[in-house]
């Protein structure tokens, strides 16, 4: 949502700034602390919570990227996993299979390669109409997977292992000996409902090892925040409006001066960029990639995450993506029935919350209208330049 929020009158904006900043800060700190808290009920009892959180963060990144394509620009992409794979494989190729560049050097290469693959796929196919795009992209995702499976250079079905972790801070010695961390953060343990500090379990700050996923989670969460801020900024700008207009009526948008093809391509490229980023992070955490990790079903899961959350609403999409990872891990006891229940849940959500868990700006805009009316009565003025700074919800 762009205009409605950015023009939302000061009536609400007048709520003094500091408390809001504080709330946001507390939320951010809470999310960073999550893997240390071992909260009862919320934490996954049967799988390492920090690891699950990392996967959730990765899916959130993916979903935010896909939301640009599906939610904003209205292009149904059923092969998004392809970009995820391109990001992951670029890292695998350059750090392990055919090179030994450090992760931080490869990361930007990986996202650019993913973005280029988005442009290469988009340039010819975005002229294809509407739903035809769905199957073309689906094909693209499959081609990427099959190419990885059948090409020995890409590691074949066996995949690529020994992908290095991101550099720890301070760096480990060249021979692999682990140096002392800057500091260690103790975890919390629970005795019933009473928390206490657990001196035995500590996370070594910014030390990327195989045992503790928390540093990886922090890295992914930081990326989530960066992507999120970029998303807010772009969506609230002319670019966001152009996407929305293109989605609504391509011809009319064109005649209103929107170069629709370029904007669609831009959405594709940006989606691919973010997808590649997620893939790169995934590869370095997993230290191993193989084509099975990029199956068609994953693309479908991604689309489900976006739509179930509420396409076009970034918060909804975040919730959707988190649930898609979290629920099956939290409810491992359903074992065999997980997929069945997941399918039923998708169906029920679609039927009972067709707008998604958090609907896109729509209904909220209606509320914004009411606020506007109140504001008009009060005679308060809108100051666009000021109001736009605050991110919209």
């Amino acid at each position: 949502m762009s205009a409605a929020s950015s023009t939302r009158p000061k009536a609400k904006g007048k709520v003094p700034k500091p408390p809001k900043a504080v709330i946001i800060a507390i939320a951010v700190v809470f999310f960073y602390a999550l893997p240390l808290l071992h909260l009862p009920i919320i934490s996954t009892p049967d799988s390492d919570f920090a690891g699950v959180l990392f996967t959730m963060a990765i899916y959130v990144i993916v979903a935010l990227g896909l939301n640009v394509v599906v939610g904003y620009a209205g292009l149904l992409d059923l092969g998004y996993v392809g970009f995820y794979a391109v990001g992951a494989y670029t890292v695998a190729m350059l750090t392990s299979a055919h090179g030994s560049l450090p992760f931080l050097v490869v990361l930007p290469i990986a996202v650019v390669v993913a973005m280029i693959s988005g442009v290469i796929l988009g340039a010819p196919t975005l002229r294809v109409r509407g739903d035809y795009l769905a199957i073309v992209t689906l094909g693209f995702g499959e081609i990427i997977r099959l190419a990885a499976t059948n090409s020995d250079w890409l590691g074949g079905a066996r995949g690529v292992s020994k992908i290095p972790a991101p550099p720890s801070i301070p760096p480990n010695k060249a021979d692999g000996t682990v140096t002392d961390p800057l500091f260690e953060i103790p975890h919390i343990k629970w005795d019933g409902i009473i928390p206490s500090i657990d001196d035995e379990t500590k996370t070594r700050f910014l030390k990327f090892g195989v045992l503790d996923a928390a540093p990886y989670y922090w890295m992914a969460l930081t990326v989530v925040l960066v992507v999120l801020i970029a998303d807010v900024l772009i969506k609230n700008s002319r670019v966001g409006r152009a996407w929305e207009a293109t989605r609504e009526d391509e011809d009319a948008a064109e005649i209103m001066g929107v170069p629709t093809f370029r904007y669609k391509l831009l959405a594709f490229a940006m989606g691919a960029f973010v997808g590649g980023l997620a893939g790169a992070l995934f590869a370095t955490r997993q230290s191993f990639v193989n084509p099975q990790s990029f199956a068609l079903l994953l693309s479908i899961l991604f689309v489900a995450a976006v739509v179930v959350g509420g396409q076009g609403n970034r918060w909804g999409v975040i919730i959707g993506a988190s649930l898609v990872v979290y629920l099956p891990e939290r409810f491992r006891e359903f074992a065999d029935f997980r997929v069945l229940f997941f399918g039923l849940a998708l169906m029920l959500l679609a039927i009972f919350r067709p707008e998604g868990i958090l609907p896109a700006g729509r209904t909220r805009r209606a509320k914004a209208v009411e606020e506007e009316l109140i504001a008009v009565e009060e005679g308060s003025d809108t100051d666009g330049a000021e109001a736009e700074v605050k991110p919209s919800a």
Binding site: P45, D46, S47, D48, F49, A50, G51, V52, F54, T55, L146, T149, N150, G156, A157, R158, G159, S161, K162, T201, G209, V210, L211, D212, A213, F282, R285, Q286, S287, F288, N290, Q292, S293, E329, R332, E333, A335, D336, R338
Partner: protein, 362 residues
């Protein structure tokens, strides 16, 4: 979930048997999802071993915890951390597949938690320098020469065709077979997992005039390929590896088409006693591929516990030094974690559609 299969004795049980302490071992592999079958076979074998152990050691009972990875490396990673963080676990049977072994190997190695796989056969797994990794069966690199030898010597093939399913397992083993068959190979082809129509492949095989076919892959596709080959009138030997060594092969191919197919396996046939024990421990189930290996893998860990190894490092050392006859073979590991003695058997499908032992490939 981590369902406790047996009633664990309360942790504070300080029994007089000073040596043996109650302990927990984990099974790590698929219990649900596409690959569940193989995992469940192993779980069944583990259960036989644990039941036997607990009957013999009433005062130091062993608990098992199952960790369902669905055979998916992505899911396996956090799950491995969970296993490692569970300080009660001192040994692992698994991981089941090579992919998940690849993804979790570094973590187990760093934690010093011993793993004994009864089914991951990717040869590269033992080259990573993980001290904790063990497997109790021949890897693909040992199975393929045996298979090639069988095709050459036992089946007396003059022209052989090699097909793989592009999977990690299937391609690895088929490449090995093709290499060892050398000049005998008149053609190769690659199909896909879950493919059901093999028209062009059948045409190629027929056209090549091959009298034997090696298929590297799993039973679902193997069965269909065998069936479509027979329907098209191909008369040669259908030979495949442990991935196809399952009654599902016969089900998919139909008895007529499956008849006389040859299946190699680094696994032994279940002995009648084991079958009986298995059916007792797992009512209504029959042992399958790698059930016996699951039993052996668990037995190694259990023997250690029985001898009073109660920490991860003790048990790791114990396993590294282990040398006893098992159900399937002499169980002893080299310094990389490969089982020292590899035995490969050939099975065949008889007229009744049963998979019966043909011969040991020497």
């Amino acid at each position: 979930g981590s369902d406790d299969k047996d009633t664990a004795s309360s942790g504070s049980d300080t029994s007089s048997s000073a040596e043996c302490k109650p302990a927990t071992i984990a099974f790590f592999g698929p219990k649900t999802g596409d690959a569940a079958n193989l995992g469940l076979n192993i779980v069944g074998g583990v259960k036989v071993a644990v039941d036997k152990f607990n009957a013999e050691h009433p005062d130091c009972k062993v608990t098992t915890k199952d960790f369902d990875s669905q055979g998916d490396p992505e899911k396996a990673t956090p799950l491995a951390a969970q296993v490692i963080n569970d300080k009660s676990i001192i040994g692992v049977v698994g991981p089941t597949f090579s992919g998940e072994s690849d993804a979790t190997g570094p973590a187990f190695a760093e934690a010093g938690l011993v793993t004994v796989s009864s089914s991951a056969t990717n040869p590269d797994l033992t080259t990573n320098g993980w001290k904790t990794f063990h497997r109790i069966l021949g890897n693909d690199a040992t199975q393929s020469p045996a298979a090639a030898k069988y095709i050459k010597d036992n089946l007396k093939s003059k022209k052989a065709f090699v097909v793989d399913d592009a999977s990690e397992y299937g391609k690895g083993i088929a490449d090995g077979v093709a290499k060892d068959l050398g000049d005998l190979v008149v053609g190769t082809d690659t199909v896909q997992v879950k493919q059901t129509d093999f028209g062009p492949t059948v045409t190629k095989i027929k056209a090549s005039g091959a009298d034997a076919l090696w298929y590297g892959g799993y039973y679902a596709e193997a069965g269909l390929l065998a069936k479509q080959l027979r329907a098209a009138g191909w008369k040669g030997y259908f030979v495949s590896g442990d991935g196809s060594n399952d009654p599902g092969f016969v089900e998919a191919a139909g008895k007529a088409a499956a008849k006389d197919a040859r299946l190699t396996c680094p696994c032994g046939a279940a002995t009648p006693e084991f079958t009986a024990d298995y059916e007792k421990a797992n009512p209504g189930k029959k042992p399958g591929t790698y059930s016996a290996e699951g039993f052996d893998a668990a037995t190694i860990l259990l023997d250690g516990i029985g001898e009073g190894k109660s920490t991860r490092s003790d048990l790791l050392d114990y396993v590294n030094a282990y040398d006893k006859p098992g159900l399937t073979k002499q169980l002893k590991f080299d310094d990389k974690g490969e089982v020292a003695e590899v035995v490969i058997y050939a099975f065949k499908v008889d007229d009744a559609g049963e998979i019966v032992l043909d011969t040991e490939i020497k």
